[in-house]
């Protein structure tokens, strides 16, 4: 049995190679001869495929092996306290698969077993409590889709066009459907005292990343999540439990959440003073810049997904989001901002979640300067880089939500540029 299987596998491997050779030839074959992929029986149409026990938990098919997270080596001192980027250029729709959703860790992605998980609520509460993972499973549950964007997303682009790919310029973002419990439910369980005006939230990893969140936000939509996209959180996203802080910078979405302390003052931790603050031209710095303002980017075509089909029908596709609420409209320009068209939203915008937009055009094969501009429900319109620099100067790192320009050249190649 196993011998037979091995032989057949070897044979199949051989025919895969033949198949791809035929495909290459097929693209240049004269139309009259017919496409061999159609006129000749293919191995997948003749022989059987994998059994249902081949992949108890499936990975993407090998042909998609380039749709992966990537990091930028020169950006950080090592890969443990570092970041990688979602391949947004190759994804569509709005939900980010966990396996390629960006990670930002300060002391690496830790392995914390569910059985060893503890969540403490302490500080200005009537009853300091400790919950196990099982305890959390017994609270009334909710489901919400939210984007999580690192405040440093697009940060490398402040001084000028730098990285050639939407993955690198805008890939510190993901969008997942979370299952969990509103933080207010847990605070109620512990008995929130009236003098509590902040919560300090902290992770269980060695960085013990801690952030202060005003109590109004904590009681509004902050969420303690244990599932994402229907399954357990991945290790790198905070398994078994993470905090979700809708619309606010990703650093506050504490992973491996171990403690929520109600306090009467902000802690001003390292991550909310020395980092994640925004230095203006005169040297003063903004702090508590939590909300991620409305932003959008065209994901395709983009430098990593050039146009390969020549002129004619072209789908321009992108993502828009706002930490203030729902996206109401996206404009797209083909000429660097001379004229704008309203893009089609794939679905009505949802609050603090990614919205997919499309503009279907008949490309004339000439140069284009593609840009997108998001509008949200508060009336905010995504600014240009120049508008942002006029207010903030050149020394900012975080919260760069400027309009992005892709230069599409005649052959379909695309480059990250800035235009006047």
């Amino acid at each position: 049995m196993s011998k037979k299987k091995t032989t057949r596998r070897a044979f199949l491997k051989g025919s895969v190679a033949v198949g791809s050779a035929a495909f290459t030839a097929g693209t240049s074959v004269k139309a009259m001869e017919g496409d061999p992929l159609i006129t000749e029986p293919q191995e997948w149409a003749q022989f059987t495929g994998d059994g249902v026990d081949a992949t108890p938990y499936g990975m993407p098919i090998d042909f998609e092996s380039d749709v992966v997270r990537r990091n930028v080596g020169w950006l950080t001192a090592d890969t443990i306290s570092s970041v990688n980027f979602t391949p947004i250029h190759a994804l569509d729709g709005t939900i980010t698969p966990q396996g390629c959703a960006f990670e930002r860790n300060h002391s690496g992605a830790i392995e914390l077993p569910k059985e060893d998980y503890r969540l403490m609520i302490n500080g200005l509460v009537d009853r300091p409590l400790v919950f196990t993972y099982e305890d959390l499973q017994r609270f009334p549950r909710e489901n919400h889709v939210y984007f999580c964007e690192c405040a440093a997303n697009t940060g490398m682009e402040w001084a000028g066009a730098q990285l050639n790919g939407a993955q690198f310029t805008h890939g510190m973002i993901h969008n997942m459907e979370y299952t969990g419990i509103p933080l207010r439910t847990l605070l109620n369980e512990a008995g929130l005292r009236p003098e509590g005006s902040w919560v300090f939230v902290e992770g269980a990893d060695a960085s013990s990343n801690g952030r202060s969140i005003p109590i109004e936000k904590a009681l509004d939509d902050v969420f303690v999540a244990f599932k994402a996209n229907g399954e357990a959180l991945r290790k790198e996203h905070g398994y078994p439990v993470r905090l979700v802080v809708p619309g606010w910078e990703g650093n506050m979405w504490v992973k491996w959440l171990r403690r929520v302390e109600v306090t009467d003052q902000p802690i001003e931790s390292r991550e909310e003073t020395s980092k994640y603050t925004d230095t203006l031209a005169d040297g003063t710095s903004r702090k508590w810049t939590w909300v991620m303002d409305a932003k959008s980017v065209i994901t395709s075509p983009s430098p990593q997904t050039p146009i390969k089909h020549g002129s004619g029908p072209l789908v321009i596709s992108g993502l828009a989001w706002s930490g203030h609420g729902a996206i109401t409209r996206v404009d797209v320009t083909l000429d660097g901002g001379e004229n704008w068209f309203r893009a089609r939203l794939a679905n009505p915008g949802e609050t603090k979640a990614l919205t997919r937009f499309y503009l279907d055009i008949d490309w004339n094969g000439k140069d284009m300067f593609l840009q997108s501009r998001a509008h949200d429900e508060t009336g905010y319109v995504q600014p240009s880089k120049e508008q942002l620099r006029n207010v903030r100067g050149l020394n900012s790192i975080y919260h760069n939500n400027c309009i992005q320009t892709w230069w599409v050249k005649k052959g379909g190649e695309v480059e990250n540029v800035e235009v006047s």
């Binding site: 749709v67 990537r70 020169w74 001192a77 306290s81 300060h106 002391s107 059985e115 403490m120 302490n122 009853r127 409590l129 400790v130 919950f131 017994r138 609270f139 730098q162 050639n164 790919g165 690198f168 369980e189 060695a206 960085s207 013990s208 801690g210 403690r259 902000p266 802690i267 001003e268 931790s269 390292r270 020395s274 230095t279 031209a281 040297g283 003063t284 710095s285 702090k287 508590w288 303002d293 430098p303 990593q304 050039p306 000429d335 901002g337 001379e338 004229n339 300067f369 508060t378 009336g379 905010y380 319109v381 995504q382 207010v391 020394n395 230069w407 990250n416 540029v417 800035e418 235009v419």
Partner: protein
């Protein structure tokens, strides 16, 4: 391993439960009962409950919130995890450390990344220098030039450093390291200086007043709103900067 541990845990619980039952029944008519644990919990008098637990080993730990889920956090558990320090010194433990001892342990435990003089190695953070550079084109942000609160540095070193072996430093070590970092930044000039919980709040951080609270709602949102131009918005569009020229994109860019 974890199975046997769970089993042990369950067994222990069982033993405690049986003992507690025995205690309750045996003493019910003889000794004065400890206060009703539920009443104690409702009042939340922590010490009383700990005493009750020590005396009776039967004070229920289950939560008494609306859903009765979770259990009471014990004092020693809160002490173990509630470590963060606020700018006003809340949470700061008693202790002290000198510049000279700080230099010694800094060179052992920190200098491999942060440099002998806290000047930083490779892309690891500089901890000293940069004062007066915040308005420059490329500001150098260090504990001395940028951090507004000393508490932040104490808290971060204590909870998160050294990188790769966090929470291994004693309180006195942290005071000493911080004394050395202050010295490296010329915030403290006396090399005999000893930093302690007593003089902690006397240290003046140069950039303490360098921060404003997010003002985007005033400085940006009115500018970035309204109906934008849709047609003939620009006369000319020219490329002013290209990523290709800079060429810093990773080679396996996935295109």
């Amino acid at each position: 391993m974890s199975k046997s541990r769970n089993l042990f845990f369950l067994l222990s619980l069982g033993v405690i439960f049986v003992l507690a039952l025995a205690y309750n029944f045996a003493d019910r008519n003889i000794a004065k009962l400890p206060p009703d644990p539920r009443t104690v919990n409702a009042q939340y008098d922590f010490d009383l409950r700990i005493i009750a637990a020590a005396n009776a080993a039967n004070a229920p730990l289950e939560g008494t919130g609306p859903l009765g889920l979770g259990r009471k956090a014990l004092k020693q558990e809160i002490v173990a995890w509630d470590l963060e320090i606020a700018p006003d010194g809340t949470g700061l433990p008693v202790g002290s450390g000198s510049v000279s001892y700080g230099e010694e342990i800094f060179s052992e435990q920190c200098s491999v990344c942060h440099g002998d003089f806290a000047e930083g190695v490779d892309r690891w953070p500089e901890l000293a220098g940069g004062e007066g550079t915040l308005a420059d084109e490329d500001p150098l942000k260090t504990v001395g030039s940028y951090w507004p609160h000393l508490s932040t540095a104490w808290d971060y070193i204590h909870r998160s450093m050294p990188y790769g072996y966090a929470q291994s430093l004693s309180d006195d070590d942290v005071y000493a390291m911080l004394a050395y970092i202050l010295y490296s930044n010329d915030i403290i000039e006396d090399e005999e200086f000893v930093l302690s919980n007593e003089n902690f709040l006397d240290v003046e951080m140069p950039n303490a007043n360098g921060f404003i609270i997010d003002d985007r709602d005033v400085t940006e949102y009115p500018l970035f709103s309204g109906d934008p131009c849709m047609k003939d918005c620009k006369l000319k569009v020219e490329v002013t900067m290209r990523a290709r020229v800079l060429d810093v994109t990773p080679e396996d860019g996935g295109s």
